[in-house]
C-alpha cells in the first residue's frame, strides 16, 4: 500500500490551481493568448519549442498572399517585395529578438544547411585546414549539442581535414566557462555551442563564453534555436561571431519554416560559404560566366528564398515586438518556475526527476523531467490532447512558449502526466 505515501492529488491540485489562476490573472501578457488560433480538443500544448502555434491571423494572411501577392501580382512580386525579404525579415528578427543591428542577419534554408554554411565558413576563416603545425585545426563542440550541430560539424571537420574536439559539461547545468578551459588552445579554430540546451534547457552565458573563446583567438558559432524569441539577447554587445537559429519554435513560423543566420559585420568580408548559388552572386541577373559573391550578409543565400514559408513568422514577430522581449522572458521565467514547483509537488513523489537547472537564471524557456515510463506516458497524453515532447530515452520536455501558454494550461499538463503515470504503473 505504498500508494498512500503519495500526497492526495485533490488537495495539491486545488492549491496549485489557485496559484496558477492567480499567476494568470497577474500576467501582463495574458491577453496575448487570444492572438493564437484555437486548437479544438487540445487540453495543454506544451511543445511550443518544437512547433509554435499559429497566430489566428495566419490562415487568412496565407490565403490573401496566394490570391494577391502570388496569384495576381505574379512574378512582379519578386521586384515589388520578395527580392529583399530574406534580409528584411532577418533584420526584423535581429531587432525584435537578437539585439543585433541591421545587415547581419538573413533568413534562408534550414538550420542544418545554415549550420553547414557557417561552420564551413567559420572554420575555414579562423583556421588553416590541414595546415602546418601551429595552425588552428580544431572545431570544438559540446557532446550534448543537438545532433544536427554535431553531425554537421563532424562532416565539415572531415571535409577540411580538421579535428573535432568535445566539450563535456554537466548535462543539467550545461556548458560553462570552466568546461571550455581544458579544450581551448592555439589550435582552436571554431567553437560551436547552443545558447539554450535542447534537452535540459540550460542557458549558457553567451557574453562570458564568447569573450573566453576570443581570448583563445578563435571564433564562436551560437545555435539559437531554443532561445530566439524566448530569451533576450545582445549579440552585438556580447561580441558573437556567427549564429544560426530556428523560426518554427518560439517564432511560430510553421512546420519547416526557414532558419536564420547572423554574421558579425566585420567578419562578413572574411567568410566564404560553400553553396555559391545564383542568389549569392554579386549581380544575380547578369548570369555571367564566372561567380563573384555579393558583399554583406546576402552572400549566405544560395537558391530562391522560400517566400511562402516566410510569412507566418511575421505576425509572431509583431506580437513579440508589442510585448517586448523583457516581458516575454519574465513570463517565461514565471511559467518554468511554476512548472518546477508543480513537478516537485505532483510528480516528484512518483519518482520523476527534474533534469533542468532549478535556478531560472540558468534556464531557457523549457524544462525537462525524467521517468522510465515517459515514452508510454507521452503516447497516451498525445491521444488525450495533452501534448508535451518526448526526448529519448526517458525525458518529457515541457516547452512553455511564453505568449501562447498559461500557468493553468501548464498545470493541466503536469497533472495529466501524473494521472498517466498512475495508470501506466498499474
Amino acid at each position: 500500500m505504498s500508494d498512500h505515501a503519495v500526497p492526495s492529488p485533490t488537495d495539491t491540485d486545488a492549491a496549485l490551481l489557485s496559484e496558477a489562476r492567480a499567476l494568470d490573472a497577474a500576467d501582463p501578457l495574458h491577453a496575448h493568448l487570444d492572438a493564437f488560433l484555437e486548437a479544438p480538443g487540445v487540453q495543454a500544448y506544451l511543445d511550443g519549442n518544437s512547433l509554435g502555434r499559429p497566430l489566428a491571423v495566419v490562415p487568412e494572411r496565407l490565403a490573401a498572399f496566394v490570391r494577391e501577392d502570388w496569384g495576381t501580382r505574379l512574378i512582379r512580386s519578386w521586384d515589388e517585395q520578395w527580392m529583399d525579404l530574406p534580409e528584411r525579415l532577418g533584420d526584423r528578427i535581429a531587432e525584435v529578438t537578437l539585439g543585433a543591428a541591421p545587415g547581419q542577419t538573413i533568413v534562408a534554408d534550414s538550420t542544418s544547411v545554415l549550420l553547414y554554411k557557417l561552420i564551413r565558413a567559420g572554420a575555414a576563416a579562423a583556421g588553416a585546414p590541414a595546415g602546418p603545425d601551429g595552425a588552428r585545426t580544431e572545431i570544438v563542440i559540446e557532446e550534448g549539442n543537438f545532433p544536427t550541430d554535431r553531425f554537421i560539424a563532424a562532416g565539415v571537420a572531415a571535409e577540411l581535414g580538421m579535428d573535432l574536439v568535445w566539450v563535456q559539461p554537466d548535462p543539467v547545468r550545461g556548458v560553462t566557462v570552466d568546461d571550455l578551459v581544458p579544450v581551448l588552445s592555439a589550435r582552436t579554430a571554431l567553437v560551436v555551442l547552443s545558447h539554450v540546451d535542447y534537452r535540459s534547457g540550460a542557458l549558457a552565458d553567451m557574453a562570458a563564453i564568447t569573450a573566453q573563446v576570443h581570448d583563445a583567438g578563435a571564433l564562436v558559432l551560437w545555435d539559437l534555436c531554443h532561445s530566439a524569441g524566448s530569451v533576450p539577447m545582445q549579440l552585438d554587445a556580447w561580441g558573437a561571431d556567427l549564429a544560426v537559429g530556428c523560426t518554427y519554435k518560439y517564432l511560430n513560423g510553421g512546420p519547416g519554416s526557414p532558419a536564420f543566420a547572423y554574421v558579425r559585420r566585420d567578419l562578413q568580408a572574411q567568410i566564404r560559404q560553400p553553396i555559391q548559388g545564383w542568389w549569392s552572386a554579386a549581380d544575380i541577373f547578369a548570369m555571367g560566366p564566372r561567380y563573384a559573391p555579393t558583399p554583406g550578409i546576402r552572400q549566405l543565400l544560395s537558391g530562391t528564398p522560400p517566400v511562402t514559408s516566410m510569412l507566418a513568422m511575421q505576425a509572431m514577430l509583431d506580437l513579440i515586438a508589442e510585448a517586448g522581449m523583457a516581458a516575454v522572458r519574465a513570463k517565461s521565467v514565471s511559467l518554468t518556475d511554476f512548472a518546477v514547483r508543480a513537478a516537485d509537488e505532483v510528480l516528484a513523489p512518483l519518482g520523476v526527476r527534474l533534469l533542468s537547472p532549478r535556478d531560472s537564471a540558468l534556464r531557457g524557456g523549457h524544462i525537462t523531467i525524467g521517468h522510465p515510463e515517459f515514452q508510454a506516458v507521452t503516447q497516451r497524453l498525445w491521444g488525450e490532447g495533452v501534448i508535451p515532447d518526448f526526448r529519448f530515452p526517458d525525458g518529457i520536455r515541457l516547452g512553455l512558449s511564453p505568449l501562447s501558454t498559461s500557468h493553468e494550461e501548464t498545470l493541466r499538463g503536469v497533472v495529466a502526466v501524473r494521472d498517466a503515470l498512475a495508470l501506466g504503473g498499474r
Copy 2:
C-alpha cells in the same frame, strides 16, 4: 516612311485571333484553365516557367492546413503525415512527371542546395578527387547552363580539387551528342546538363546523351527545372543517374517552393551527400553520439522539411495527372508553335529574332525572342498586365505553361510586344 513596310496590324491580328480561338476551341485541356485562380488586371501571363500560377483551391487549402494540420494537430502532424512527406511528394512527382519508380525522388531544400549535394556526391562517387594520373578529375558543364548550376559546379570542383570542363553548344540548338564528343574522356567524372535550356528552350536528347556519358564511364546529372511538368520524361528507362528540378515553375508550388532530387536506385549506396543533418540520419530521434546516414533517397535530407511550401504543388500534380503528361506536351507544342507563327507574322517585321529552335521536337515549353529594346518593352508590358520574362541582354521569354495558358492569351502577349515596340521606337 518605312513604317509602311510593316504589315497592317489589324488584318494580321484578326487572322491570328481566329486561329487562336479555333485552337482553343479544339484544345482538350481548355477547361483546365478554370482550375487556376483568376488574376484581375492580368491580360497575358507568359512567365509560367518562372513562377507558375496558383490553382484556385490553394488559398483555402493553405488556410485549412494552418487551422487543422498545424493549428490543431500541432506537433502530432509530424507523426501523422509530415514525416514522410518529402518521399511521398517525391514519389508523386516521379510518377506524374518523371517516369521514375518510387524510392528515387525526394523534395527538399532549393534547386541550388540540391545541386550542391548531388554535384558533390556524384563527382566524388564517379571520380577520385585530387587523385593520381588516370583518375576521373573533371566535371563537365555547358557554358550556357543556368548560372546556379555553373557557379555551384565551379565551387565543388575547387573544393574537390577537380577541373571544370566547358561544353560549348550552339546557343539556339542546345547541347547535342556531337558537342560532347570532344570533351568526354577517361578523365570525366560527372556531366551536368539542363534538359531544357533556360534561355532558348532547346530540349536535349536525354536518352542519347546519357548513353554517351555512360559509354565514357562517367555519371550525368540532369537539371530538370524547365522540363518537369512540361516535357514528358522516362528517367528510369533513359538511365539517368542524378537529377534536380524545380517545383515553382510548371509544378506551380509557389514562390520559393522546395526542389526535388532524383538518384537512380542502384547509385544510392554509392553516394554520400555533404550536409549530414539529423533528417538524413539512420535513426533521427536516437540523437546518438555519431552520425550514420539512412539508406535510400532519404539520405539527401538535411534539416526539417519545409512543409508549408510543399502544399500548393500537390493540387497541380493532381491536375497534371488528370490531364496526362502526353496531353500536356501536345498542348505545350501547340502553344509554342502558335507563338512562333505569331512572332513570325507580327514581330519579325520589326526586327525581332527567334532565339529558340523552330522544330518543336527540339523545344521545351517556352520560346525566346530577341530585340535590343526588350528591356524597356518588358518594363512597359508589366505595367499593363502583360507579363513575359526579360532575359539579359535583349531576350523576351514567353513561358507558356500548358495547363494555365490559352492560345488567345499567347496572342495578346505577342501583339502587346508589337505595340510596345512600336511605341518605344518613336
